[in-house]
Symmetry: D5
């Protein structure tokens, strides 16, 4: 067992191959994991059962492991704020603002070849997808 | 043996990787399974012999497992209704209306990268193909 | 998203290929997932972070999907009961008694070719591994 | 669509690579398909849902395609005849007698490297497995 | 050994995955099997030695197995009839007329993703390639 | 198209990787190609239809390509000479005598890891299998 | 060991899958074997050490095995004849004239999907690449 | 770029799949990486050039990531202490004692199926191999 | 252990398949290794930990092994010189000048199919990526 | 093109993964490359045509790249010295003596899992196989 907070071997492996500008999709349980992402992206399935694991669980683990430069969320046609967004903001704390885009533009962005990793969750809430862009780890002084 | 109604391991596996907007093709015995679908789609062969299994058998099993948002059927040039369509409607009950399109537009839609799964049947009736679009499982209250 | 309780595509896929007498290992976070199981077993990683997911979470999901005929746990040399065992018993309810064996006999049993699936968890408790034997779904009357 | 009675591409493919003395297992829904057969055997999944397809459906299709030299069934410890055995005999008609063996000897025989193909069914009846040995097609006169 | 006339496991396998509108190329010995067909097409090599097997041998075997809706042949720039064409017509009997096209248009058509299968022969005659389009098996009455 | 007599790409490829003491099995149509040979052996299928190609056709092509040091045939329990053996002798001419062994010893020898290649034919005659051992090409003077 | 002049198993294998119009690149030691050819082309490495093997060695071996319809060489910007070209002409004897093209057009032609095979040599001379087009083996009379 | 000290994606991936009792070999530059370890072990090559990276560099990175329960070193026939051993002891600090074994017993232990990972270094010193056994991460209180 | 300065098996393997005009990317620790390069490029991970190995370490090893014709570096929007550039110039000595381009044009050039190899380092400095173009080894006199 | 004497990418790659005690077989043209070596060994084919390349060519290239600790040759039953052995001795110069063993013991040693690499040549001389054992590169002072 690793001593790090993030333990998942496949997620660690792909994050170690990704970098500045690579995207990571944490998808809710209704997301089309296979058809809504590029073929080249690694898919990791954490959708054990409804509500487990949650998108916010994955975000909490990733925040320990990678710098986050941007974060995009999917919103309904009316652009309505979703309850889960504030949980995202709290976890991202001093991190980037959430960028809101509609369903099909979100799919388009997630299907870019910049997406290195798709993590499927059992999140039951709708419009609960989060598309992260990895930032830069500054050199140690 | 699983305790669920849908037992097929490869179908369950791909459906668990698909989601809102992904397509599933249940193809009759004359459909060009390989060349009439995207390379990326998983192909499952249930065409044991003529008449077994039927497209309606597969639909009955899938209805237990996934929400269905849209259903498209292939029609001849004269747009003629086929006997099997009413069996589809009965099984879909409160589900979506059937959308009718011609042979080549049907191939075009089935070849979209949204198609995650092609299930080959031994259905002998012609114009008996059914292209489903997966919907959303609403959050439990 | 599937309508079943167990959502995980790879777990569903392998369980649908397993059957009476096949073994499923739900391993705690310190288990040697790769080297303590047969090469032929499918490995599924749900070890997101310490404590997530738990062995009991996985058991709760599997119980919905498969009949369980036997359940083996790993115990220290003194055979000491572990706190998690009662959680197992509660979840298995009318199911099989727990069989207790030591660390190396447990590895030997887990490495049998009967083990079809290894599910890695982030369970932090030690001696929290559970090796299930699948039973029979009786014919419907 | 093929003009033959047996339509299934993977079954046809493997049967065309098998021959005199090769074994084909038609397994009921509770059989451990993966762990109760050799790794080298091709596995074909026709277990769509409980009761579909049946072991007898597969036997009916195979009889058209290959000569059958021997047929083995699994019996309980008391060697009790099962209702499905007479259906097997009727389909095999002038073919071989059924050889009855117990559960674990049956697994041992099915795991021989002579088994080229395992066909998983949704057969709900228990003790409904059938292990065929392929015979010889005599030269045309 | 199968009891059918067509015995070849890989040809049977692919034909069982093809269907209405899929193409099958039976290529003479000089055809560029690899570079004159789509990467996705299965290639089967029956070119044992010059003159064995012949394109007409393969056609004779396929006619037993699939319905044929169209047949295209390659002709020289002057569109000259080739001796083998009448052998094709005799074998196709009540089947489709031969469509004649030049060398490069033939390559273009053979390279369409509709081509599921390329069968290489040792046919020594030149301009002896045959590109078949699979038709429909009508439902039994 | 190659200018050699033996044209088959996969057979040429494997023969070029084999050598002194490697075995090549030319199997009649009833031989268990998959289960009666080692997993490591390449399998080439030339069994287009009953009687095509014949074991003697393959032998005629191989004789042009490799030196043959030994040749083993399968005989019935009574060791009876088969009509095809004299065809083998004529083709092998000044080559090795035929060694006759029974069905199961023949399988044992064919399953040795020395077997590099299995060529499946549509030969209809029974007891028509031929197991060749490759010899040495002497240095040019 | 094969009795043919060309012995190389992978070269023989690909040439047997190529045909009229397929290209074969014999590349000098400085050619970008991987990035200057299509991904689909088979790469064979004969670049043991500087000067071994030479492009002319490979040409001498190929001439025995395939008909050659066209031959293209790479020339510097000034189109200067290279010493190795006369060696090519001598080996090709009654074969095709050499077509001379510049470095980048040569790469463009070598990257066409018609290129079935790239043979890397240790040829030290520069501008010593040879791109062959396979011709037709005429039928035996 | 990950925020952890150990950055290597493949090492992180395999360590996340290993656990209590799994072995990790950090091999010096002369070790037979491929033939001195099990086929199933993942091999990671960090042998950029002589002296880079060193075995002690890898140990320093691993110590941050996994608990170490045992450490074995290879010694000459005379069991002589090597200069690098004290560097190992310093890095392992409160960790396990070094166990010294001879060259061939070391190979035997490294080839056990418990070895999940082999890390090749450019370490120039001889007898500088280190075989680690992973320990347990105790549950957080 | 090889006697050359460059020891790394995968780097040596790909460099031996590359040639004049092929590109090699030595990437700093924040580079998006997977998504900022072509799928066809081999990826080698030497990013053990922050600062190990460095981009300059890799350059020092490569200079021994291949001729370098061009070298491109990534610069910030203001085109600012980076401290590491002088280290590159010193190592390249009589080699090519550094070409400076911005972040996104650099990604575009690195994603060309000419890139045969991506070497990931743990280099902590930012704007420390180096994209090399391989030159020509002149013939020995 | 590499600047080293040994240029072959696959040979360099495997030698970089081998080490002290690993074996490399340089086989003459009649050796059973596939069946006379372990499945795990990499096979490299340099058998372009009879006499090219020679076993001594390969030895000359390898000597530049790896230390050689032992060298075994195959001899006839009478143990007769072969003309090529003195060429081996000259190339090995201050290296190991040749160990002579018979045909079948040679196969047994070549099939050990210590053999990492088999290099097939077109060497025409018989009894011209050479089995090398890699030695140690001593640390630089």
């Amino acid at each position: 067992m690793l001593k790090t907070k993030l333990l998942h071997p496949e997620i660690l492996g792909i994050l170690g191959m990704a970098g500045h500008g690579s995207q990571v999709l944490i998808a809710d349980g209704n997301y089309p994991f296979l058809t809504g992402s590029p073929e080249t992206a690694e898919k990791v399935f954490l959708n054990l059962m409804p509500g487990m694991v949650k998108v916010t669980d994955v975000l909490a683990a990733l925040i320990e492991a990678i710098p986050i430069e941007a974060a995009t969320v999917m919103v309904p046609d009316d652009g309505a704020e979703q309850a889960i967004f504030d949980e995202f903001r709290k976890l991202l704390s001093a991190g980037p603002e959430l960028t809101k885009i509609g369903r099909f533009p979100f799919y388009d962005q997630a299907r870019l070849s910049d997406t290195a990793l798709v993590i499927a969750t059992g999140e039951q809430r709708i419009y609960a997808n989060l598309l992260l862009t990895i930032g830069v780890v500054p050199p140690e002084k």
